[in-house]
C-alpha cells in the first residue's frame, strides 16, 4: 500500500518538477483563451528545446500556415503506419511533399480510437508547432469538429469524410467516389476471369467500403452484360469481417470462399484484407488459380509471392497519397482550400486501377480504359447505394 502510494507521490513530484520547470512563467489562462494557452505552451517549447527552430515563435503568433516554417503532421487511424493501405498512403503523400519542400514532418499514433484520443494527438502536434495535420478516416469526424474551432490557424484535412456544412474555414474534407474505382476493378476482374465466381471481404461497414463493394458488383454485372462474361456473384460470398486489422480472420474468410470455388476475392479490409491476400498467395504457390483484388493503394507488392509474381489481379485504388501531397503543397503555397468538401472521382483522375497490372491482359486493360472514359463522359453512372445489389 504505502509502496504504491510512494511510487506515485514520487512520480507526480518528478513530473510536476519537470512541467513546472518547463512551464515557468506561463500565464494561467481561462477557458476561452484557447489560442493563448496554446501559444504560450508553444513558446515554452521553443525555449526549452535548444534545437527548436526560431520559426516556431513566428507561428505561435498567429497565422502562418504557409512557407518554409510549416510543419506538417498526420495522425493515424486504427491500424499502423505501414498498413499498406490508407494510413500508409496518406503518410507517403505527406512525407513526399514535405521532403520535397524541406518541411519538418511527423505522424502520431493515438492511444485508441475515441474522439478523446484523436483530439489529444492533434493537440500534441499543434502544440509543438504543427500547422497542417492530415487525418485519414471518417473516425476523425467528431475530433475535427472539436478542434477546427479551437485552432483556427491549423490546416486540417480529413479523408474519407464529407463534413458538409460543418466543415470549418480551416478544414478540408475529402471523399472519393469509391464506387467508380470498384466498378473499374469489377470490370477488369470479370473480363480477365471470363467465367467463375467472385467474392468480397470488407472491413467495417462504412460508406467508403460499402461503395467499393457496390461499385465492384456493378462492374462485374456490367461486364457480364456488355462483354460476354459469365462471372457469378453469390451473396454468401460478399461479407464484412467487422475489422480492419484482423489478419487471421481475413485468412479464414478467404479459406472458406476459395474452398467454395470462388476464383477472386476483392479484399477491401485493410489488415484483414492482407490476410485474404496471404491466403491467395499460398494457394497460388500451391498451384491453384485464385486471385485477390487489392484496395486503396496498388497492393501488387503485398501479393508478391517471392518469385516475381503476385496474386493481386488488380487493385481498386483511390489516390489518397496524391490528395495528401497536393494539400501539403497548397498549404505551403498559402492556397489551402479551407472550408471545402472535395469529392474526387475518375473525372479528375483521383482513382482507378493501377496503370501497370502484370496479371491483366492488354485486351482487359483496353476495355477498362474504354469503360473509364465512359464513366468520365458520364455515359455510365455508378450508383453509390445498395439498390438492387448485395448489401
Amino acid at each position: 500500500m504505502k509502496k504504491s502510494l510512494a511510487i506515485i507521490m514520487m512520480l507526480l513530484a518528478v513530473f510536476c518538477v519537470f512541467s513546472l520547470a518547463s512551464c515557468g512563467g506561463k500565464e494561467e489562462t481561462t477557458s476561452t483563451a484557447a489560442a493563448t494557452t496554446t501559444a504560450a505552451s508553444t513558446t515554452t517549447t521553443a525555449t526549452t528545446t535548444a534545437a527548436a527552430p526560431a520559426a516556431e515563435k513566428e507561428e505561435s503568433d498567429g497565422v502562418a500556415t504557409s512557407g518554409a516554417a510549416l510543419k506538417v503532421g498526420m495522425v493515424t487511424d486504427s491500424g499502423t503506419i505501414d498498413d499498406r493501405s490508407f494510413n500508409q498512403g496518406t503518410w507517403e503523400g505527406v512525407k513526399k511533399a514535405a521532403d520535397e519542400l524541406g518541411l519538418e514532418s511527423t505522424y502520431l499514433r493515438p492511444n485508441g480510437t475515441t474522439t478523446g484520443d484523436y483530439t489529444s494527438a492533434i493537440y500534441d502536434l499543434y502544440d509543438q508547432g504543427y500547422r497542417f495535420i492530415a487525418c485519414p478516416g471518417y473516425l476523425f469526424e467528431e475530433a475535427i469538429l472539436e478542434v477546427q474551432d479551437a485552432c483556427p490557424d491549423l490546416a486540417l484535412v480529413i479523408f474519407d469524410s464529407n463534413l458538409g456544412d460543418n466543415c470549418g474555414a480551416n478544414t478540408v474534407s475529402v471523399s472519393w467516389k469509391e464506387q467508380e474505382s470498384g466498378f473499374l476493378a469489377g470490370v477488369a476482374t470479370a473480363v480477365e476471369l471470363v467465367d467463375g465466381s467472385v467474392g468480397f471481404v470488407g472491413g467495417i461497414e462504412i460508406p467508403a467500403v460499402q461503395k467499393f463493394n457496390w461499385g465492384f458488383q456493378q462492374g462485374v454485372a456490367f461486364a457480364n452484360e456488355n462483354y460476354g462474361t459469365t462471372v457469378e456473384m453469390d451473396p454468401s460470398n460478399f461479407v464484412y469481417s467487422g475489422s480492419f486489422a484482423d489478419l487471421a480472420l481475413g485468412g479464414q474468410l478467404a479459406i472458406t470462399m476459395y474452398d467454395k470455388g470462388v476464383d477472386a476475392i476483392f479484399a477491401a479490409a485493410g489488415g484483414t484484407g492482407v490476410g485474404v491476400i496471404n491466403e491467395a498467395k499460398s494457394r497460388r504457390l500451391a498451384g491453384e488459380d485464385v486471385w485477390a483484388i487489392g484496395v486503396d493503394v496498388d497492393q501488387y507488392s503485398v501479393g508478391d509471392m517471392g518469385n516475381g509474381e503476385s496474386c493481386i489481379l488488380t487493385s481498386a485504388m483511390k489516390y489518397v497519397d496524391k490528395a495528401a501531397y497536393d494539400l501539403v503543397y497548397a498549404a505551403y503555397n498559402g492556397e489551402f482550400p479551407g472550408g471545402t468538401n472535395e469529392l474526387l472521382g475518375a473525372s479528375t483522375s483521383d482513382l482507378g486501377i493501377p496503370e501497370e497490372n502484370p496479371n491483366l491482359s492488354a485486351e482487359t486493360m483496353e476495355i477498362v480504359a474504354e469503360v473509364e472514359q465512359m464513366i468520365i463522359a458520364g455515359d455510365i453512372v455508378v450508383q453509390d447505394t445498395a439498390d438492387g445489389l448485395i448489401p
Partner: protein, 374 residues
Amino acid sequence: MAGKTLLKERKAGNLLVSLSAVVAGILAGCLLLIVIGKNPVDAMTKIAQGALSDSRRIGNTIAVATQLILVGLSVAFAYKSGLFNIGGSGQMLVGGVVASIWAYYGQDIPRPLYLVIIILSGAVAGGIWGFISGFLKARFNVHEVVSSIMLNWTALWVIYEIIPAFIVDPKVPSKSAAVPAAQSLRTPVLQQFFPRSYINWGIVIAIAAVVIIAFILNKTTLGYQLKAVGSNRFCAEYAGIKVNRNIIITMTIAGVLAGLAGVTYYCGYSNIIYRNQMPNEGFDGVAVALLGNCNPVGVFFAALFFSILKAGKGSLGAGAGIPPEIADTVIAVIIYFTATAVLFRNLWNGLFHRIYEKRVAGANVKGPDGSLSD
C-alpha cells in the same frame, strides 16, 4: 535506523522500494533514449508537458486514469482473493453498452435520476459478467482466466449484434450513435476547471470505489475472508470460510468495478462504442493493479502514472521527434522497469542484511537468530 543498544535489521520499506523502481524505470527509459540518440531530459520533459502542461491536458490525463483506476481495482480486488480477472474488457463492454442503451432511449429521464440509472445498470451488467466467471469457477472449477477471456469475446460479439439492432449510428453502421453531452457523465461542474477536456463524473466514482474497496478489504469480515481465501484456499476452508461463496462474490464485485469502468469510458471519456473493438483498458488494468501492488490506493496512483505516460506519449512523438513506435517502446520500458519492484525489495533487503551483519560483527553482539529472515 538500528539503535546502538537494540540492533535490529532494517527492512526495505514500501516507499524505498517504490521509489527505486520508479527511478529505475525512468532511468531505463532515458538509457533507451540515449541509445537512439535523443536527449533524455528533453524527452522526459515532453512527456510531462504532454500530460500536465495545461488544464485541458490535466483534465484528459485524469479522464484516462478514471477507467484505469476502476479496472485496476477490479483486477486488484480479485487478485486479493487469489483470482485473476482478465475479463475486464468484456465487463467494461457490457457495462458500457447497457449505459449506452439507456443514453439512447432514456433521453426524457431527469438527469440526476438518469445518471444513477446508467451507473447502476452498468455496474449490474458488469457484475453479471463477473458473476458468470465466479460461478463457473466455484461450481465447476472452470479456471477464471479461461472463462473471463472467453466472456470477453462473448461480450464483444453480442455487442457486435446489439449495436446495429438498438443503438446504431444511422450514418455509420459500425458504431453506436454518439451519446449527446447532456446524456453522458461529462459535466460542466468539472469541465469548467478543465476546459475542452473529457473529464467526467467517472473520477468521482473511481475515487469512491477506491475508498469503498479499501474499506471492504481492510475493515470488514468479508474482506478478511476474501484475503484468507486468497492466501490459502484450503486453510480458509478448514477455518470454516465458505470458499465458493467468496469466489463468486469476489468475481461479481470485480465485474461491478469493471462495469463501472465501462460506463465512464463509453459514456464519459468516449461517447461511442465501435463494433468489434475490445477496449485495451481491460488489459492495462492488470498492469495497473500489479504496479499498484494490488492495493486500492496503490492502484489509484499507478493508474495516474500510467495515464501520464499514455498522455505524454503523443507529445514525446511530436516534440522530440521520436516515432510513435519508439515512443511506445520507451513508455513500455519505463513501465516494465517500474514493475520490477520485487527485485528492488530483495536488493535492498540483501544490502541491509549485509550492513546489519557487519554491524553485528563490529558490535560483537549476536543477533536474534530466527527473526532475521522473513
